[in-house]
């Protein structure tokens, strides 16, 4: 988090003649996000696999990105809308037989080679979220602003579990809530004539989805947890 803030302060120096004055407008941006979801059901599932004798490895971080529209509607209020995706995965892998890999490379003249692992069981949870958030601007100085906000999230999620001979998938959707603090910094750089801004956002989301398939019986994918997001925006 500290590193991200340092990076933001380095590349996002205030534009010349930076001022406290406010001008309404909208920006579009792309963000990269890391979150640390609860995923208790998946942790229990991983534990069950471990109990069955597999070294099942489950990630702790969900990675994602989004396309956002950020609008300054007044000096004190800001709104944001976004569509983004998040991925959380785990699985069980085995090392390739070394000789098998050598023969594979030799016989295909190097066209094919294994990545060293045979992905026996792959678990993949994906979420597509639509977010709307309203912020109150806490401070605005020399191209930099700090704001706090909250809003609803609607998430469509899928769970895919692949094994050597089978593929199981389920999906569901649910409504959640997000609250966060964000720091935005106008940059000296411009994309053509368009103003550029960098943003850093951290917060907490409550966002669980129940898989609606009959077989799943309301199995829960809980994407709730803290998150941090960094993005760049251009003015429209």
């Amino acid at each position: 988090m500290t590193l991200l803030m340092l990076l933001l302060c380095t590349i996002g120096q205030p534009s010349e003649g930076g001022t406290d004055s406010f001008s309404p407008g909208f920006r579009i941006g792309f963000t990269f996000m890391a979150s640390f979801p609860s995923m208790q059901s998946e942790k229990d599932f991983a534990d069950m696999n471990t109990a069955a004798g597999l070294n099942f490895e489950l990630g702790s971080t969900a990675w994602g990105g989004s396309v956002e529209v950020l609008g300054d509607v007044s000096e004190k209020f800001r709104i944001r809308g976004s569509v983004g995706g998040t991925n959380f995965s785990g699985g069980y892998s085995e090392d390739y037989n070394a000789m098998q890999n050598i023969f594979l490379v030799l016989f295909t003249l190097g066209l094919f080679s294994g990545d060293g692992e045979d992905h026996v069981i792959d678990l993949n949870d994906q979420a597509i979220s639509i977010e709307a958030q309203a912020y109150y601007v806490l401070s605005r100085t020399a191209g930099m602003s700090v704001s706090a906000g909250a809003g609803p999230i609607y998430t469509f999620a899928t769970r895919k579990l692949d094994s050597p001979n089978t593929a199981t998938s389920g999906s569901g959707s649910g409504l959640g809530f997000v609250a966060s603090l964000r720091l935005d910094q106008e940059s000296t750089f411009k994309l053509g004539c368009l103003p550029l801004m960098f943003g850093l956002e951290g917060g907490y989301r409550m966002n669980s989805v129940k898989i609606s398939d009959e077989e799943a019986d309301d199995y829960e994918l809980d994407f709730s947890g803290p998150f941090v997001k960094i993005g760049s925006y251009i003015g429209l």
Binding site: S41, D44, F45, M48, N49, A51, A52, G53, L54, E94, Y96, N97, Q100, F103, L104, F107, T108, F112, G114, D118, V120, I121, L161, S163, P164, N165, T166, A167, T168, G170, I211, E215, A216, D217, Y219
Partner: protein, 110 residues
């Protein structure tokens, strides 16, 4: 083209062999099968089958007193409604006196 295929054939066979590796730490089953389990002491035993969403889809044995030692049971790949389960991963839990003492994993496919 034919020579190239002839050259690639051993590699494809190797890939194919790798994909059907039978050394996985779980069994691959296509029809009713028998499994064994060991009880460290006598007690009340439950055998339940869970699907990949950890839901109990079949109880093979309920509240049955058994002695310590090796025992066998079988699963016909049917759920509690007597319908064949969909392809996927399934887990058999051996519960002794309300404690899970063993979990066995099976890949069921047609």
């Amino acid at each position: 083209m034919g020579k190239l295929l002839l050259f690639l054939m051993p590699a494809l066979l190797l890939i194919s062999a790798g994909c059907n590796d039978s050394t996985y730490p779980f069994e691959q089953v296509t029809e009713e099968f028998t499994f064994t389990y060991d009880l460290p002491n006598e007690g009340v035993v439950d055998l339940i089958v869970l699907n990949c969403y950890m839901n109990n889809i079949r109880t093979l044995l309920a509240d049955t007193a058994q002695s310590s030692g090796s025992h066998t049971s079988s699963w016909d790949l049917l759920d509690s409604s007597a319908i064949r389960v969909p392809d996927g991963l399934y887990y058999i839990r051996i519960i002794l006196d309300e404690d899970v003492i063993e979990t066995q994993m099976y890949e069921v496919y047609q």
